[in-house]
């Protein structure tokens, strides 16, 4: 039996807000007018952070060659950090003609011999899916031979978007890992963190708070994760989905199969971090825990406020325009407000209905939701008298032309802005941006243009 999940079922996923409205449309990227990654990238995002597993990409060189070491997903795994390594069969013309299966078998043997990982994930990609290499069979045989889980991941790029790929990654974990091992001990406060990839150590901004509360992270998918743990994930009392709608289908199935309820939240900004911690405590349903959490949250917020004092004067009366996508359209807006900024506009072009509603909630009636930020942002900066543009690199020129400060939203790929402490990182970076003379200076006319 093939372990290929039914793509159509996943797309029709009832728990996904986005799909209620436009079912088939999500699956049809427009030729010549599409941005964003493929399903393989999505699967890679959701599973690569397991540092004790090898991630073998079965395909030609583009898929891995262009993408390994691109995400700073940190780990405490004491062994060789396999997230910083790239494995690919690098199939050649010969393999395309005669099948790449033999090469794949040898590659797995090779990896086991040299690195003895706790598991091997085998990713099919466009070309190897097209030529029909049977990665299910190979994984089954390799698992029997080597005695560790071999997980086939069926998310070749041509099946759809990054988002779908993350779901397929979750699906693979559910089918081949979750429920295959029993934990040594359990506690009433065992949770799984789903969709937290610990990029730049985001998870560590709040993990210690969970520890303090006596909440145990049993397993993660997949930030700082361990194969052994995710195999035990079916014994958790609660699934916590961190900023990842794509994994809703996984948690729904875990609810069906193992009766684990789930909550969906974000640890970005002060208010969301507090809300998130309280939501976990509430969902675990222990009054003592809820009381402890309330106390901790109050303490942390006070501590944060104290440390933010330094920045208050800098941010007071400052207006920001935000141009990003997805859940960042509101989560970063919320964080900016936490710091004291007025967010006068946020781009919602690349956001779901749900994200737009939340953006509206945070920005209020006065705030502008930009459907066409490329055109609108320059005008809004003038109209609203904004001081800061927070956007992707290609908007830099707009900020310079308008003579205002610019901060690259993608910095969060290098530095954590998550949790309470991350907000301080954000504050520091934005203060630096506002104080930096560079934006005005580079806009200076050349002497021969005067």
């Amino acid at each position: 039996m093939s372990s290929k999940p039914k793509i159509k079922d996943l797309l029709d996923e009832s728990a996904c807000e986005h799909n209620k409205k436009k079912k088939q449309a999500c699956n049809a990227p427009k030729p010549g007018a599409t941005t964003g990654g493929c399903a393989f990238e999505g699967a890679q995002i959701s599973l690569f952070p397991y540092a004790d597993a090898a991630h073998l990409v079965h395909g030609p060189i583009t898929c891995l060659g262009s993408s390994w070491e691109t995400r700073a997903t940190k780990t405490t795994w004491p062994g060789r950090d396999l997230t910083r390594m790239g494995f690919t069969t690098d199939v050649s013309l010969n393999d395309v003609i005669f099948s790449g299966e033999e090469k794949l078998v040898k590659a797995i043997d090779d990896i086991m011999a040299r690195y003895s990982p706790e598991a091997v994930f085998v990713y099919s990609t466009c070309v190897t899916a097209m030529i029909g290499d049977d990665i299910d069979l190979i994984c089954r045989q390799a698992a029997a031979k080597h005695g560790v889980p071999m997980v086939p991941v069926h998310a070749p790029g041509f099946v759809g978007s990054k988002n779908l790929g993350s779901r397929l990654g979750g699906e693979a974990a559910l089918r081949h890992l979750i429920g295959t091992l029993e934990p040594e001990t359990t506690t009433p406060f065992d949770i799984n963190l789903i969709g937290e990839y610990n990029v730049t150590g985001d998870m560590w901004q709040y993990k210690h708070l969970l520890d303090k509360l006596g909440i145990r992270v049993l397993a993660t998918l997949s930030g700082d994760g361990r194969i052994k743990d995710i195999r035990c994930a079916h014994r958790a009392k609660l699934n916590v989905i961190v900023c990842a709608k794509s994994l809703v289908s996984l948690t729904r199935k875990m609810h069906e199969q193992y009766g684990i309820p789930s909550v969906s939240l974000s640890f970005y900004g002060k208010r969301d971090t507090s809300k998130g911690l309280l939501a976990i405590a509430a969902a675990l349903g222990d009054p003592g825990l809820v009381a402890r959490t309330e106390k901790l949250v109050a303490h942390e917020e006070a501590r944060l406020e104290e440390r933010l004092k330094l920045y208050r004067d800098v941010f007071v009366d400052k207006k920001a325009v935000l141009n990003t996508g997805g859940n960042k359209t509101w989560s970063i807006a919320a964080a900016l407000q936490d710091l004291g900024f007025e967010v006068v506009a946020t781009a919602v072009k690349k956001a779901t209905e749900d994200d737009r509603a939340r953006a509206r909630e945070y920005l209020g009636e006065k705030g502008v939701l930009m459907m066409n930020p490329g055109v609108e942002q320059a005008r809004l900066i003038d109209e609203k008298g904004a001081h800061l543009l927070l956007a992707g690199g290609r908007s830099l020129y707009t900020a310079i032309k308008k003579g205002i400060a610019f901060a690259d939203v993608n910095q969060e790929k290098k530095k954590s802005y998550g949790g309470y402490d991350g907000l301080l990182n954000l504050a520091e970076d934005l203060k630096n941006a506002l104080e930096n003379p560079v934006f005005k200076l580079v806009a200076r006319r050349a002497p021969w243009q005067k």
Partner: protein, 429 residues
């Protein structure tokens, strides 16, 4: 010269340095003014490529995808997705050229690119660049060849002052500019194909990345046929030179394996002197030659005791290994991303077509690494010195201005490498 190991019984790449053909093709199209590179395949290859170059150059990158999906893949021979792509692109922008290049997926299905291209009805150059063959360097070279074959008009007369420069993929924008400038100082009108020196050189301008901004224009490419002289740099560019020469019987060609170090720089200048009858160079060039000589001497002591691993594309290895060798550097190992006729000529003790796992296995053989940012983890773990060169370099800014070529770049490169070697020694004692 070197002991070369090409074909090996290794079923996988671990920590690859190899990059794909379609990515090289994209980059070449970005050296054409107002071009829209269109990658034919599923959307992911394009997205990865865009992010890859955006991070390397710190510049927005123009590129689109035909967004082939599994449903389409079975039914369509590329017609629908390509024709539709061009329509959709032209709704938003008016490129001077569509640069259509393939990935493994449509090649596996056997899409007839040439057939589809003829139906598009928009200026378009197509090139087959499956990623299960060749690599970064060949993708760039095949694209350059396609641009020549499909655009350059045949000519019967030559303009002796007009010179075409064909640079290999690893030359940075500023290096291309410097070659052009040197040649121009001899009175030539130089056109580089592709030309990153005016597109991805990192200049502040109104860049929305809708299209490539700068590079050689399509009109200029069309009229390359009357150039009197062609200079190709790098083995990978020989084929492009060959097809260009077919456009005009009067055209003459000179080839350089690379342009790094004293000897190679001298031979380019010598050629230019011969061609023009000039009897000297500008004072600035003369001065830089003396500085390179001095740099070689100043760095020789350090480099003479340093065992070096160089990692990269074949044409890049040729130049880098030679300049290091000439200042006494002991290039004990060169790891090439792919095979190439260039490998035999590389000045290294051992040349290997391989990956960074191979580099790790040979850790005893070197003290310093010259290579891309994937080498950083390796250098850190093994406590080796590191000079970052090649694609990708996501760890440093300013990549378009890294200059290792000719007299001037050579001097800077030797100083940088010798200093890195000294720092490594200070740290490891």
């Amino acid at each position: 010269m070197a002991e070369v190991t090409r074909k090996r019984d290794k079923p996988l790449q671990v920590n690859p340095v190899k990059l794909s053909q379609p990515m090289g093709a994209t980059l070449a199209f970005l050296g054409v003014d107002r071009c829209m590179p269109l990658m034919h395949g599923a959307q992911g290859c394009t997205s990865f490529t865009k992010v890859f170059f955006t991070r390397h150059f710190c510049e927005p990158i123009a590129i689109q995808t035909t967004a082939v999906t599994d449903a389409l893949a079975v039914l369509d021979g590329g017609d629908y997705s390509i024709v539709e792509s061009v329509k959709n692109i032209c709704k938003k922008v008016s490129p001077s050229l569509i640069g259509l290049h393939t990935t493994g997926l449509p090649e596996t299905k056997g899409d007839d690119l040439r057939g589809v291209a003829s139906k598009v009805g928009y200026p378009l150059v197509y090139v087959n660049t499956p990623d299960y063959e060749g690599g970064f360097e060949s993708g760039w070279a095949l694209t350059c060849k396609a641009l020549i074959e499909q655009l350059v008009a045949p000519a019967a007369t030559v303009n002796d002052n007009k010179l075409v420069l064909l640079p290999h993929v690893s030359l940075t924008p500023i290096e291309v500019e410097n070659i052009k400038e040197l040649i121009e100082s001899f009175g030539f009108n130089v056109l580089a194909l592709p030309d990153l020196s005016t597109s991805l050189d990192g200049h502040l301008g109104e860049k929305q990345a809708a299209l490539s901004s700068g590079g050689i224009s399509v009109e200029e490419i069309k009229s390359l046929g009357d150039a009197g002289l062609v200079i190709s740099v790098g083995e990978s560019m020989r084929e492009s030179a060959r097809v260009l020469l077919q456009k005009n019987a009067g055209m003459r060609h000179h080839h350089f394996s690379h342009l790094q170090g004293l000897e190679a720089s001298d031979s380019l200048v010598e050629l230019l002197l011969d061609e023009t009858g000039f009897n000297g160079v500008t004072p600035k060039v003369e001065r830089w030659r003396q500085r390179l000589q001095d740099a070689m001497l100043d760095s020789h002591f350090s480099l003479g005791q340093t065992r070096i691993l160089v990692v990269g594309e074949p044409d890049q290895l040729a130049g880098t290994c030679k300049i290091l060798h000439d200042a006494g550097g002991r290039v004990t190992l060169a790891i090439s991303s792919v095979d190439s006729p260039q490998l035999e000529k590389i000045r290294a003790k051992r040349v290997l077509v391989g990956d960074l796992e191979d580099a790790e296995a040979a850790a005893d053989e070197y003290d310093l690494i010259v290579g891309n940012c994937h080498c950083q983890a390796l250098a850190h773990r093994l406590r080796k010195g590191l000079v970052l060169r090649g694609f990708p370099n996501w760890e440093e800014v300013g990549n378009p201005l890294k200059n290792d070529l000719l007299y001037e770049g050579g001097a800077y490169f030797l100083y940088e490498t010798a200093n890195a070697a000294e720092e490594m020694r200070r740290k490891t004692v």
